[in-house]
Amino acid sequence: MGSLAGIGMGLAVIGAGIGIGNIGAKAMEAIARQPEAVGDIRANMILTAALVEGAALIAIVMAFLVG
């Protein structure tokens, strides 16, 4: 049971990892294009990453509770 929950957590983290990786990559690109907008981009990057993270967190906590 515990290992199944572990696999579930891993799957959730893969999704969040891809999502946050994309956000980071695009933010870096954006900063490279417009270095003067770095403050705005950083704030929005963190906000979007937090939203992606939220979905993964729910999955992880569910895995904890059920497992």
Binding site: A43, I46, G54, L65
Partner: protein, 429 residues
């Protein structure tokens, strides 16, 4: 110069590692280290406060027994601490202290409910190192068809079982509720009081300095905190809340500095590493505060879009949109709660597990390898501490900025649709 710095860092790290695991890795000769136990003990709340490794501070217990309707009030030193585990060798009014937290005996004898008595009998008091014997053990028991680990202690040849702690899920997923209410000033509560007191003093001083320093450049603490306050004002409040930023700025600043203070306090070495902002009940209250502020200040435009989204066919609204939007109202604070809890707890756990690597290596390959491992392990731990310092700020900021984003969604006035579409889309999540 540089070498001496590295040397200092290593010595400091070593000291840190051993004080952190003095209560954990040192014992259990021959059994191997129970890393999971150590990690969970480290992040748990407790009824004693260890300022490792020198001071063990007793805390007041306020316990209410639901069955008998009786209050018990005493200092947790009455349990008579044994060793660094936070175990107590005394039974006080049917309660015992197991791994730092007060637990109730399931099947106490009448004598146990009165006054206090020793668990181990005569030979309990002479082993002050706490490693020689364990007061509490646990075994797997089948309860309601499920296998569960139940703690117990033995006295006069009889087994006395302990109640489980109230579970993370408050019993929703099969966890247990205790049969007593614990209103004690625990380690977390005490740390929170300390941080609050510090914050009040600092911010009162800053307010005073703004009055006396008017028109002049900021100085001292004022200068230290002003960038953060201005950051929240300019990067969070103004862009998200538009004209109403002044109304919500105090709330956002309170949330930010409260979370930041607790996050940082948990990371100060030797202060017991209280995991306050990584405790679900604390983040729950913060999330409920955010939920109330967001929804109470929500205007007709916000509620209209939740209950009856304009411009969408009625069947679609009833079948999908309205239920999803209503769930969304609750999901938002729940993710706020979980995000802070999980991030801070994970940080504390990773740190203690990196330190535990030393003791895992010792069990697997002996002392020599353990010394070698300690170098790498300490380097990793210090790297993680640097990351966690960043996380402390980021999580406080994320909680604040998300609250502001939700506030933006709930207080925004309706305007031309072609213009608001993209805007709302960003804020609706």
């Amino acid at each position: 110069m540089k070498l001496s710095r590295i040397f200092f860092a290593l010595v400091f790290g070593l000291l840190l590692a051993f004080t952190n695991t003095a209560n954990a890795g040192g014992g259990n000769e021959g059994e191997g280290v129970d890393v999971e136990g150590i990690a969970f003990h480290h992040i748990a709340d407790a009824n004693v406060y260890n300022w490792n490794p020198w001071i063990t501070m007793p805390l007041p217990c306020f316990l209410y027994n639901k069955d008998t309707g009786k209050w018990s009030t005493f200092l947790s030193s009455k349990f008579h601490f044994v060793g660094h585990h936070g175990d107590g060798s005394e039974i006080v009014k049917g309660y015992v202290l197991n791994a730092g937290s007060v637990m109730k005996i399931k099947n106490p004898t009448p004598e146990m409910m009165e006054g206090h008595m020793s668990i181990a009998g005569d030979h309990g008091h002479d082993s002050h190192d706490g490693h020689a014997h364990h007061l509490f053990s646990s075994e797997l028991k089948t309860v309601d068809g499920k296998e569960k680990e139940v703690s117990y202690f033995e006295k006069d040849g009889q087994k006395f079982y302990l109640e489980d702690k109230t579970a993370w899920d408050f019993g929703v997923f099969g966890g247990e509720f205790t049969s007593f209410y614990d209103f004690s000033i625990t380690k977390n509560v005490f740390s929170m009081f300390l941080v609050c007191l510090f914050m009040i003093l600092v911010f009162l001083r800053i307010t005073k300095m703004y009055k006396t320093n008017e028109g002049k450049a900021p100085s001292g603490v004022q200068g230290f905190f002003e960038p953060m306050i201005v950051f929240i004002q300019d990067e969070v409040a103004k862009p998200f809340l538009g004209k109403k930023w002044k109304q919500f700025l105090p709330f956002l600043l309170t949330i930010f500095f409260f979370i930041l203070g607790l996050n940082l306090f948990g990371q100060v070495p030797f202060l017991g590493g209280s995991n306050v902002s990584g405790s679900l009940s604390v983040t729950l209250v913060l999330a409920v505060a955010a939920f109330l502020v967001v929804n109470i200040s929500g205007n007709a435009h916000y509620w209209g879009h939740i209950v009856w989204m304009p411009g969408v066919p009625a069947w679609l609204k009833i079948a999908i949109l309205t239920p999803v939007e209503i769930i969304g109202v609750f999901i938002k604070p729940i993710t706020l709660m979980l995000r802070l809890f999980a991030n801070i707890t994970a940080g504390h756990m990773v740190m203690i597990i990196f330190v535990s690597l030393i003791f895992i290596a010792r069990d697997a390959a002996g002392d020599g390898i353990a010394w070698l491992t300690s170098v790498g392990s300490i380097a990793l731990t210090m790297f993680m501490m640097a990351i966690e310092l960043l996380v402390a700020f980021i999580q406080a900021f994320v909680f604040t900025i998300l609250t502001a984003a939700y506030l933006n969604a709930s207080t925004e006035e309706s305007h031309d649709h072609d213009h608001s579409d993209s805007h709302e889309h960003a804020a609706a999540h």
